[in-house]
Symmetry: C2
């Protein structure tokens, strides 16, 4: 299967599962549950769940359908982070993936609670007991711990806090790297690592996949910075030039567009080099690394 077909097929699987898994309730909670579904359904590449699937597959495991809740949890976390980042008190964005942001539709309180609900739901999915025989309890706990560390105060949440603090002040390139690593990189790396746990990676495989995750996380953020400079709102589905508006430090601001492109390529190469130990079974991950650096939205 070529990459395009692979991405489309996995994306459909993830979206189907998300749809099935989302909490259902009687009338009174409908509006709140709609607010979760609104952002979850708003599209996106489903990159994090797909990285998780692909990492498990690179270790020779055919990712079992019954573990889809684990992959879906990653998308719930990603979606929660977007909802909270878009809030008026944060980046104050009105468009996301071409649609009004959550708080534009459900109000500020509604959006805060949608995010809180999705974050909590991720951990509910990860601790679901019914798939216990596919994944040892110990591995499931490792997954929960890996994710919680990646997205907490020393990871994604901390990265967003640093990003907010960095607005309208001058930061060094080292500080920019720290923000990127925590804010975007940590969840991407964790997605790969969680796939590795599912695929029962040994120590050297885990090290290789972690290095891969770190490198594609970096590539992803560099391309994001580039797209913000170069893209139109229509391509991005969000307000372009938002970083400049917020006077945020970016790769292009430090290095210019050409050198930034080269750095994205370097990161992709680093990701691919990290996979040597895994041999040809990791080809899909290699393709994904190229895909991440070539995306245009």
């Amino acid at each position: 299967m070529d990459l395009k077909a692979y991405l489309a097929s996995k994306r459909q699987q993830v979206e189907q599962s998300l749809h099935t898994l989302l909490p259902q309730a009687d009338g009174e909670l409908q509006l709140h549950l709609d607010s979760l579904a609104y952002s979850l359904k708003a599209g996106g590449k489903r990159l994090r769940p797909i990285l998780c699937l692909a990492a498990a597959e690179a270790l020779g495991t055919s990712f079992p359908q019954r573990l889809m809740p684990v992959a879906c949890a990653l998308e719930c976390v990603h979606t929660y982070s977007l909802i909270h980042d878009d809030l008026p008190a944060m980046d104050n964005d009105e468009l996301r993936r071409g649609k009004p942001t959550n708080h534009m539709v459900y109000g500020e309180a509604g959006a805060i609670l949608a995010g809180d609900g999705l974050l909590t739901f991720a951990f509910e999915l990860l601790s679901q007991p019914d798939t216990g025989d596919l994944l040892p309890d110990r591995a499931r706990l490792e997954i929960i711990h890996c994710l919680a560390q990646a997205i907490g105060s020393l990871g994604m949440v901390g990265g967003q806090a640093l990003d907010m603090a960095a607005e309208e002040k001058s930061i060094s390139f080292a500080e920019l790297q720290t923000i990127h690593r925590r804010k975007t990189g940590a969840l991407i790396t964790a997605s790969v690592q969680i796939g590795a746990i599912i695929g029962q990676a040994n120590q050297s495989q885990m090290a290789a996949l972690t290095a891969y995750g770190n490198a594609i996380g970096l590539a992803f953020q560099i391309v994001d910075d580039l797209l913000d400079v170069e893209g139109t709102s229509a391509q991005l589905g969000k307000t372009s030039g938002a970083d400049a508006k917020h006077q945020k430090a970016t790769y292009p601001a430090f290095f210019g567009v050409e050198q930034t492109r080269a750095k994205a390529q370097e990161a992709v190469q680093e990701a691919i080099d990290a996979l040597t130990v895994l041999g040809p079974s990791a080809d899909r991950l290699r393709e994904l690394a190229h895909y991440i650096s070539s995306r245009s939205h």
Copy 2:
């Protein structure tokens, strides 16, 4: 040990553990980590961790110090919920436990992230691998699942969403009960249930402790409503009469003060009746039920 000494001693244990467990980092994340510590240290009765400890003890388990992270996770969740509930977009409260609310000190974005960080940290604490031999992995997963369900979109977060939607509109008593059960009751019940899992409760013990948790959760909320009507800001440590200001439905609004007091007593009696199967080892839980209904802040 009498109840007062018991509460003081357990509270100190919990606060000591929270202090030790909180994430540490180098300079750049200090402000964010301070924002978590600010609200965690702002006092409170530490009721949820203490209920967890007491429930485990009622089953003959001396609560092991090495499981304190589990009890502390409950306080992290409670504190996150207070920080987000106090936000300008939610209840817009400026005082909490006699101190400025988190967003008054760290700003709105800071407070949203402090809450996100604490919620995530709770799951990090619960999935910590190092205490695995005290608590089977399966029990640890049950605890995580129990908590996530209780505080998610069909539990605490959903309750807050309903509470927001109910402001300034007329709701029935049945709707008020649903809001209370989800918003306040679910986490209190889960705290008791998690203690029960630690104490290796059998089915009838779990049923008894769940019924107890539900009843004290109700008593707690009824007393909260009463205090809001009767208390002064100084006693409450938060703005009194806030419910009336938001035109929130409360027990006293439905039944008047006297009948509301009687209902609190009924709930306490229900809690105590539920414990019959546990015999005298549950005396501390019985005392706690009385304590909850008699508190003045």
